[in-house]
């Protein structure tokens, strides 16, 4: 059948898939981004054991494959008495992964702010919270935008793995369609196209806009 036919016949499945993908993705990146900042601060805590435990957490997540983390959470958490909906499991897994990888980037950005900014804040007698919130973080965030944009494109790709724990996202739907139609080119090809378009047309331009907006807001760039 022609491509248009293909799309028309499977439209509801495809649309459901896109909606689920976007839901899982946006929830996990928002949670993950916030968590990344928290982890970054924990990594810079003045208290030794806090730093060590956090470092262990980060190294554990960075050293193990995302798919194993996903399966582990899916199958092993119930043994601890934690019964989560599969969608929540997917979001938690992606968010935790992003928090670990992202924390290094956040920490790097904060540490790259010139020493003079810290010293000026102290000289003005700003409280540590104010110093971080009003001086350091706004500048660090501006540095983060381009890298974070790349990171988030990575996580859109990672989100396709949640289909393997039966979350009905784009990948899952296309696998079903392929099982029925045996048309790999159209089914998986469309899946590739959808992920590509979301990245190219939504995520990357959005981040460039956010970067410019933030730059204007804090008066730099």
């Amino acid at each position: 059948m022609t491509y248009f036919n293909f799309l028309a016949v499977n439209s509801s499945a495809i649309l459901t898939g896109i909606v689920v993908t976007l839901q899982i993705y946006s929830l996990s990146i928002i949670t993950g981004t916030l968590a990344a900042f928290v982890i970054a601060f924990l990594l810079m805590a003045p208290f030794g054991p806090v730093r060590w435990i956090t470092t262990a957490y980060v190294e554990l997540i960075r050293g193990t494959p995302l798919l194993i983390q996903l399966f582990w959470l899916f199958y092993v958490l119930p043994l601890f008495g934690i019964y989560l909906d599969k969608n929540v499991t997917g979001v938690v897994c992606l968010a935790a992964n992003l928090s670990a990888f992202g924390s290094g980037v956040v920490k790097g950005a904060i540490e790259s702010i010139p020493r003079g900014q810290w010293e000026a804040s102290v000289a003005l007698n700003l409280s540590p919270i104010r110093r971080m919130r009003d001086i350091i973080l706004p500048q660090a965030v501006l540095l983060l935008f381009p890298i974070w944009g790349n990171l988030l494109v990575e996580y859109l790709k990672h989100s396709s793995l949640v289909s393997l724990v039966a979350i009905t996202d784009v990948m899952y739907q296309m696998k079903m369609i392929n099982n029925n139609t045996f048309d790999a080119v159209q089914s998986f090809g469309t899946a590739l196209l959808i992920y590509y378009l979301i990245s190219r047309l939504i995520i990357t331009p959005l981040f460039r806009m956010l970067e410019r907006y933030w730059g204007r807001r804090i008066g730099v760039g």
Binding site: T64, L66, W72, L79, S159, L161, M174, F188, L192, Y195
Partner: protein
């Protein structure tokens, strides 16, 4: 069923998991070897004089880098039978990983090539060296060390991506762990041990690769790039 780690079960399944680990390592190196070659092909394709060809390669590389490996694996595995060609899981898996990581590596290679100072190209021209000699003797030896951090990064990434191949029944570590789990309904031990194996191997690989990078720099007489 609660949290209850069974040591004898762990020891029982360990041989199977270790055997699968070997498969994982083979898959990583085989796939990455393909990727290293394809990376050169993709870069050369982007640098040709023919605008249409270089545009095609450029868009293809971007497309591969922006789309999930999982979907690419399924695509490669199932597209064959659609046209009557049966691909074994290993061949399909190596192809998908090779193309996916080849795209990433072409960017790494590009960075390394650009890191060679322009004056080197000019000195080669002044000495009237042939293009072949220019690349092989002068440019590539200098382009390679800057590539090493990127290559290390993606080698470890490739290693951690091999579990994706379990979906097309490549008998690597995650696949074996899953099979053991479904057989005995005990998932805790197989997945945890699999995760730990990955962790240990990742850490070792990262350490070895950074040592190798420093050695290579010293051997080639290039200055040390502390980062």
């Amino acid at each position: 069923m609660g949290f209850d780690w069974q040591w004898d079960y762990s020891i029982e399944i360990l041989p199977a998991l270790l055997h699968a680990t070997i498969n994982t390592v083979i898959a990583t190196f085989a796939g990455f070897a393909v990727a290293m070659v394809l990376g050169v092909v993709f870069l050369a394709g982007q640098r040709t004089r023919y605008p249409l060809v270089s545009w095609l390669f450029r868009e293809f590389v971007e497309f591969i880098r922006t789309t999930p490996l999982l979907v690419q694996v399924f695509f490669v595995f199932y597209v064959g039978p659609q046209f009557g060609v049966l691909l074994s899981p290993w061949v399909a898996g190596m192809t998908a990983i090779g193309v996916h990581y080849g795209a990433y590596l072409s960017e790494v290679y590009r960075g390394g090539l650009y890191a060679v100072p322009k004056g080197q190209w000019e000195a080669c021209k002044a000495l009237n060296l042939s293009p072949a000699r220019t690349y092989l003797g002068i440019i590539l030896p200098q382009a390679f060390p800057p590539c090493m951090p990127g290559i290390s990064l993606y080698l470890v990434g490739c290693f951690k991506d091999t579990p994706v191949l379990s979906v097309i029944a490549v008998t690597e570590l995650l696949n074996t762990a899953s099979v053991l789990g479904t057989m005995t309904y005990r998932y805790l031990e197989p997945y945890t041990i699999a995760g730990l194996i990955f962790l240990v191997l990742s850490l070792i690989t990262v350490a070895c690769l950074s040592m190798a990078e420093r050695r290579l720099r010293k051997m080639l007489g290039l200055p040390d790039h502390r980062h």
